[in-house]
């Protein structure tokens, strides 16, 4: 039995519904594979450095547990399957950090409440690739040669410009 540190990035939607249930979903998977969960707590709710599965924000859960090595390999599969877990990281821990147990126990107290995660904007495939550029109106370069003070008039004006030389050639 080795001590492991597990960090889990959870979908904010699951956290918004019920933090206790989201946390239990992780600890249940750990327990299912024979791990002894020592601590499990809310680490942070933050903006992600890059969008993951269309989410721009996420909640991190930090857990310390003791487990045999076969159990760790099997639980990885379960974390991959679980939709609420966006990312996970399991690393060996030398020792339980000081204060970790207290922070975890404080979460079990009755007065513990978690601030509701802020509503995020879902990231479309376009936004994931182009970022802010995806929000800009599309400019048709082929038609934007002439300065257009008014869009409605400009569209008509450009059409007549194209037609005029054609008529001239015909005559």
């Amino acid at each position: 039995m080795k001590l492991y540190e597990g960090m889990f990035l959870l979908d904010n939607q699951a956290v918004r519904e019920n933090w206790g249930r989201a946390k239990a979903s992780i600890t249940d998977i750990l327990a299912k594979h024979g791990a002894k969960v020592i601590t499990a707590r809310h680490w942070e709710e933050r903006k992600l450095a890059y969008p993951i599965k269309g989410r721009t924000r996420g909640t991190y859960l930090l857990a310390f547990f003791e487990c045999g090595n076969e159990g760790v390999n099997q639980m990885r599969r379960d974390f991959e399957i679980d939709d609420r877990v966006l990312r996970y990281l399991l690393v060996n821990a030398e020792a339980l950090p000081a204060g970790e147990l207290e922070k975890s126990q404080a979460e079990g107290a009755a007065e513990f409440t978690l601030p509701t995660p802020p509503v995020e904007e879902r990231v479309t495939a376009e936004r994931a690739v182009f970022g802010e550029l995806a929000d800009r109106p599309v400019v048709d370069r082929s038609r934007a040669s002439a300065p257009a003070p008014d869009e409605g008039d400009a569209a008509e004006g450009e059409e007549s410009e194209i037609e005029t030389p054609a008529v001239g050639e015909g005559v």
């Binding site: 960090m7 990035l9 680490w43 933050r46 450095a49 890059y50 993951i52 990312r87 990281l89 690393v91």
Partner: protein, 76 residues
């Protein structure tokens, strides 16, 4: 002449020398790790950080773990 041009491996580096017992190299210490990234989020070389080989390897590992968890960018 070649020796004069060679960079000193023991001299002070741009980010200062580091005590190898420093516990800050950890994937959760994002503010600390961010000091070792270029503006494009590349990891600084050992020459620049002044770390010993082991510390630089730990730094690399920590930054890569933080990137995987979405705590730090791959490119910025």
């Amino acid at each position: 002449m070649a020796d004069m041009n060679r960079r000193s491996s023991t001299g002070p580096s741009a980010l200062g020398s580091r005590n190898c017992d420093d516990p800050h190299i950890n994937y959760k210490e994002i503010a600390y790790l961010a000091k070792f990234l270029t503006p494009q989020a590349n990891i600084y070389s050992r020459k620049r950080t002044g770390f010993c080989a082991q510390c630089q390897r730990e730094l690399k590992q920590a930054i890569k773990r933080a990137r995987h968890m979405g705590l730090m960018p791959f490119v910025a």
